[in-house]
């Protein structure tokens, strides 16, 4: 059953068509992957689903648990259980990791916050009171971001390029966290162009030029990586050049 359903979603940014009558249905409690080449519209889809400013003016509809959420802001969607892990997480000068995690945590006890850090491979002794600022590496910020999503126990977690900036050793921590989310019953949507990330999913969508061009189990969709091709009639053509007049 679909927890998050996208119906005929069309979105333009600066007059350019980015999402083109896109339809997709994310099943409750599953781990999904949305893959596709650069410029396919994957991150735009994530930003639109979570309701970021600049991504609210679209045609079509987004339904969460059977009800339209198109009029809801980011915080209202989050309060219903939809959240986003950013490809490049924000830095917060002076904000301790403890406070950042506690802000979204259902269980606000220190023990739980420490447990969350352990789950993403950060030692609480060294990290609990460090700031979420530029002194953290990109990989460390990514882990803190993931810990804050675990803290929230969301119904839907969109993770945009969860492996970017992460070293090979740490990537397994990220995948473990995805499993924890799965165990919590969270619907996980992995936005990626990485085969390793795709393989964490149970079901995948292949996007190109703002549309879903294929979907199915991971074995089927991974052919995109193996064959270096996508099942449509173009390669490496800028979206606007291809569909500039459409929609």
């Amino acid at each position: 059953m679909g927890i998050l359903t996208v119906k005929d979603l069309t979105l333009r940014l600066n007059g350019k068509l980015i999402l083109n009558r896109l339809n997709v249905d994310f099943w409750d409690g599953h781990v999904h992957a949305v893959i596709g080449p650069n410029g396919a519209g994957k991150s735009t889809l994530a930003s639109t689903l979570v309701g970021l400013s600049g991504y609210r003016d679209f045609e079509g509809d987004i339904e969460f648990e059977g009800k339209s959420i198109r009029e809801l802001g980011v915080d209202q969607r989050a309060q219903r259980g939809i959240t986003l892990g950013w490809q490049e997480p924000a830095r917060f000068e002076g904000l301790p990791i403890h406070d950042f995690l506690r802000a979204s945590a259902k269980d606000k006890s220190r023990e739980h916050i420490e447990e969350l850090l352990n789950k993403v491979g950060l030692d609480p002794v060294n990290y609990l009171y460090r700031a979420v600022d530029k002194t953290l590496s990109g990989g460390e910020r990514k882990k803190v971001e993931l810990a804050s999503i675990l803290a929230m126990e969301p119904k839907v977690a969109l993770l945009d390029e969860p492996d970017s900036g992460i070293d090979i050793e740490s990537i397994h921590r990220i995948f473990d966290a995805v499993k924890v989310l799965r165990e919590l019953g969270t619907t996980v949507i992995l936005i990626t162009h990485s085969l390793a990330v795709l393989e964490q999913a149970e079901h995948a969508f292949l996007m190109c030029h703002g549309q879903v061009v294929d979907k199915g189990d991971v074995k089927k969709i991974r052919r995109y990586f193996e064959d270096k091709c996508i099942p449509c009639d173009h390669k490496n053509i800028p979206t606007q050049q291809l569909i500039g007049g459409q929609a």
Binding site: V50, L52, S53, G73, V74, D75, R77, A78, Q79, T83, L84, W86, P89, A90, R91, F92, E93, G94, L95, P96, D99, A103, S104, A131, S148, I149, A151, M152
Partner: protein, 313 residues
Amino acid sequence: MKTQPELINSLYEYTDTDLNLKDPDTAHLVINGNTVIGMHAVPGLDIKVRELEDGIDAMVTLDEGTIVKKPVHLCFGMLPESGIQRIIMNVNIGKNARISLLAHCVFPNAVDVQHIMDARIHIGDGANYSYFEKHVHSPNGGLKVYPKAVVEVGKNAHFKTEFELIKGRVGLIDIDYETSCDDGGVVDMMARISGRGDDIIKIKEVGHLNGERSRGALTSKIAVRGNARAEVYNKLTASGAYARGHVDCKEILQDNGVATAIPIVEVHHPKAHITHEAAIGSVDNKQLETLMSRGLPEDDAVEMIINGLLAKQ
């Protein structure tokens, strides 16, 4: 009528400070208005105070080589709603001495109060002087604060000051600090202030890196909300070879607040180097939407970001 210990407790209860003024190793000086209500020195540290009509004149001397292990507590405050408190301080830190001061300026009931600080500080060669000043103001904003200091930092000496005004309304604050550094000296000045309502924040910090290999950092972190206004003037000059410095001003604006930053860097030696950065604007949208995507309402998210910026590092 309150006893002196009761008065001290009345001032300190606003500061969130875990204080033990009975500790014989902790020096302190507590002033209410123009009256000394508590004073204790430790070996090597001499504090002489003369009460004035509208404040005090203090002479603080730390002997050469003396290391004061525990922070010295200073508390300047006024419990009444109106009045003037003038603090004149002459501080002389002997060579290779080390001291850290924790100053609280507490005006919890101010409706019409002026607090004027005029300090002259000499830090001897190789000495280390650290001064953290925390202001606690009333919610009325009826306060005018004029902290002024002229600081001489000796060879290889270290001067660090941090000014915090986050609790209560600012009213008017007009900071005017000027420092000069000899060879190898270090000056590190930071101000963190939150303005609301019709508060006015003026900061003028000037550092002169005169000595060879002297170093300086001037940092201001300001939040202005409501109709508050802030003007930050930071100037760092370098005339010593290999002098290094940085000026950093961050101001967050909300509502109808107005913020100005004037960073000036002036280099007089080809082997000196100074950098500056200033950022003024609303709360960063990515930070805001990250917190909102975790379920925080916008106002709470803004508060959290500002609190982070203004937090003690």
